[in-house]
């Protein structure tokens, strides 16, 4: 029973991290039709920024400095995403395949840049000591960090849903995900929505990057790759363009992955791929998908 609870909560924590990566991917594809392969780089940039804050700026980690690390990581990644959108994606308007290809190039360049400057070895991100402690729930001993991932992801989920539901730009994004040309036909310049979505997506990925550094015990230029693939899987399963879909799919995949890894010894990745294939072959638009690109 205690193992079950541990795996469940770890799976949920993992799902929280997947959500942070997937949410931006989902919005970006949903609104703009861009398959953003650079999203892993956003994550990594966030992680490195967090590392810098937690080592050079505030060498003694406290809860507050960690929060600053997360925010800084998010903002740095968000700004990078915005820059990429303005300089490169914008110029390839409506050339969806070329846009996807260009994000591949940006990802290569960004990762190589970080690798060239910092080397590919993993560095440790100092965290407040209480992160590594554990709580006892019934029989189960559960590390606290899981709850932190879940908490942060929940906050960002609520923030994103609120922006979408209550702001004008959110309204534009929701409409644009459904029918971009009609939004233009109402006199609205969708470019602003594009930039917003890239920034938000980058921000979430950046925050995710800092947390992933804690989860994986290290920051390295190569960290983004496997998380990006999982991000894509979550987006496809949850439905492109749907934040709620990403949240549900992320939980589903995180929890299944952990259970499969434990009870089926190491088959976690395999099972996730199976879920992906099943969803794609039965409901290709994903669980809550609403996009018609």
């Amino acid at each position: 029973m205690s193992t079950f609870l541990l795996i469940l909560i770890t799976g949920t924590g993992l799902g929280a991290l997947y959500f942070l990566v997937a949410s931006g991917l989902s919005l970006i594809y949903g609104l703009m039709g861009v398959l953003n392969f650079a999203h892993g780089a956003f994550l990594t940039i966030g992680a490195f920024t967090g590392l810098w804050i937690s080592t050079k700026v505030f060498p003694n980690p406290t809860t507050w400095t960690f929060i600053v690390s997360m925010l800084a990581g998010g903002i740095a990644a968000g700004l990078f995403a915005l820059l990429m959108e303005q300089l490169v994606i914008n110029r390839l308007y409506n050339r969806h395949i070329d846009q996807a290809l260009v994000t591949v190039g940006v990802s290569l360049v960004a990762v190589a840049l970080l690798g060239g400057w910092f080397g590919n070895d993993a560095r440790f991100l100092p965290t407040p000591t209480w992160f590594m402690k554990a709580v006892t729930i019934g029989d189960a001993i559960i590390p606290i960090d899981r709850f932190i991932y879940i908490g942060v992801a929940a906050i960002l989920l609520i923030a994103m849903l609120s922006i979408l539901k209550f702001t004008r730009i959110g309204l534009i994004i929701r409409a644009g995900v459904e029918n971009r040309s009609m939004v233009s036909a109402l006199g609205i310049n969708v470019r602003l929505a594009f930039s917003t979505v890239f920034f938000i997506g980058g921000f979430a990925a950046g925050v995710g990057g800092v947390l992933i550094s804690v989860f994986s015990y290290g920051v390295s230029p190569l960290m983004g790759g496997s998380w990006l693939i999982y991000g894509f899987i979550v987006v496809v399963v949850g439905g492109m363009g749907s934040i709620t879909g990403s949240a549900i799919a992320a939980m589903l995949i995180g929890i299944t992955n952990q259970f499969a890894n434990y009870y089926l010894t190491g088959l976690g990745d395999f099972v996730v791929v199976l879920i992906l294939a099943t969803v794609l072959l039965t409901k290709p638009s994903g669980l809550l998908g609403k996009v018609n690109h």
Binding site: R91, V102, V104, A112, G116, D269, F270, V273, L276, A277
Partner: protein
């Protein structure tokens, strides 16, 4: 005529020269190191061509092509090592197995189109990578790589002094694949592939089943990739999980874009250039010329992905037809000068 009338004879002449040089005394191609680099480059050129058939020619954006390449490598190795098959039969076996694998996975994936199709192929590719890396069933030896049993290979492929025969093997495979691709694309099936890329509706209106032709293209390019994989096994001596990874598929994409899709020679050129560049950049980064540069310049330059990624971005943004596209554009201008 957009094609220069001497281009074919020129290509043949170049190929013959490249085939002869390693055997012709002292020249740049008489060193084993260069021969090895070029052998690998030729194979990647051929592999890029198989990907061009799928992506450039038929318009199927697959993110899992590396799976079939890796299948060729590993099945050949396993049949030789564990089942003691004759190496030629093992290669044949690998090709047939991969064709079946492609028929299965392609059949499933082709129930979808566009980005969804890309995602399914990504999933299958990932599954393959995981399967190899985690060493399920003890078949693949996981991350340590799977060396092929050298005793079971013909003697003239073993040993550094025989690198020139590996080189010839690779060149031979490249030529074979080139002809195969040329034959396929010029055949009536090939015309259907091209039509599928441009307008699928027109194909069904003609009473042809688009999915069947897409599957045919998929299986053919996978089978060819397997053959190339078997050759890579012999040239490099062992299999490794990275051959199945997303890195290889992305590299293939870059190769085709670099050289220019659909033109066939573009993909080959892109593959060879990419392969040579990334090896050379690696070597360059270790040279002393770099030591004098400040770290923030020499650092990124020492990573081939930086330069290649930059070139890739520039091509996609400003020269989408790649090298061959630029060539044909220039030739078009030249032919229409003063008209």
């Amino acid at each position: 005529m957009l094609r220069w009338k001497y281009s074919r004879p020129l290509l043949i002449a170049i190929t013959v020269i490249f085939a002869i040089l390693p055997f012709a005394g002292e020249n740049p191609l008489s060193k084993a190191g260069i021969q090895q680099t070029l052998a690998v480059a030729f194979l990647y050129g051929a592999l890029a061509l198989t990907y061009d058939l799928l992506f450039g020619f038929t318009g199927l954006l697959s993110f899992g092509h590396a799976l079939y390449f890796a299948s060729g490598i590993y099945v050949t190795a396993i049949l030789i090592n564990d089942f003691n098959w004759n190496f030629l039969l093992a290669i044949l076996g690998a090709i047939i197995f991969t064709a079946f694998l492609a028929a299965l996975t392609g059949g499933a994936a082709l129930r979808t189109t566009g980005i969804t199709f890309a995602m399914v192929t990504l999933a299958f590719g990932q599954a393959g990578h995981v399967f190899i890396a985690r060493d399920f069933g003890g078949l693949t030896n996981g991350d340590d790589g799977l060396p092929v049993n050298a005793d079971r290979l013909p003697d003239f492929f073993i040993g550094v002094v025989n690198t020139k025969y590996l080189y010839l093997l690779a060149l031979g495979i490249l030529v074979f694949i080139y002809f195969a691709a040329w034959w396929i694309t010029e055949s009536s099936a090939g015309r259907v592939f091209a039509a599928l890329r441009d307008n699928e509706q027109r194909v069904s209106v003609l009473g042809l089943n688009p999915t069947r032709f897409k599957l045919l293209s998929f299986v053919l390019s996978a089978a060819m990739a397997a053959l190339i994989g078997a050759a890579m096994l012999i040239v490099s001596g062992s299999g490794s999980p990275r051959y199945a990874g997303a890195d290889v598929t992305i590299a293939l994409l870059l190769m085709v874009i670099l050289g220019g899709p659909v033109t066939r020679w573009g993909a080959v050129l892109g593959g060879i250039l990419y392969s040579v560049l990334s090896t050379r950049l690696n070597v360059l980064s270790q040279s002393s010329a770099f030591d004098s540069l400040p770290n923030f310049i020499s650092g990124p330059l020492s990573e081939p992905a930086f330069t290649l990624g930059l070139i890739f971005i520039l091509i996609v943004m400003f020269a989408p037809g790649g090298i061959s596209g630029a060539y044909y554009r220039a030739r078009f201008k030249y032919l229409n000068k003063g008209k």
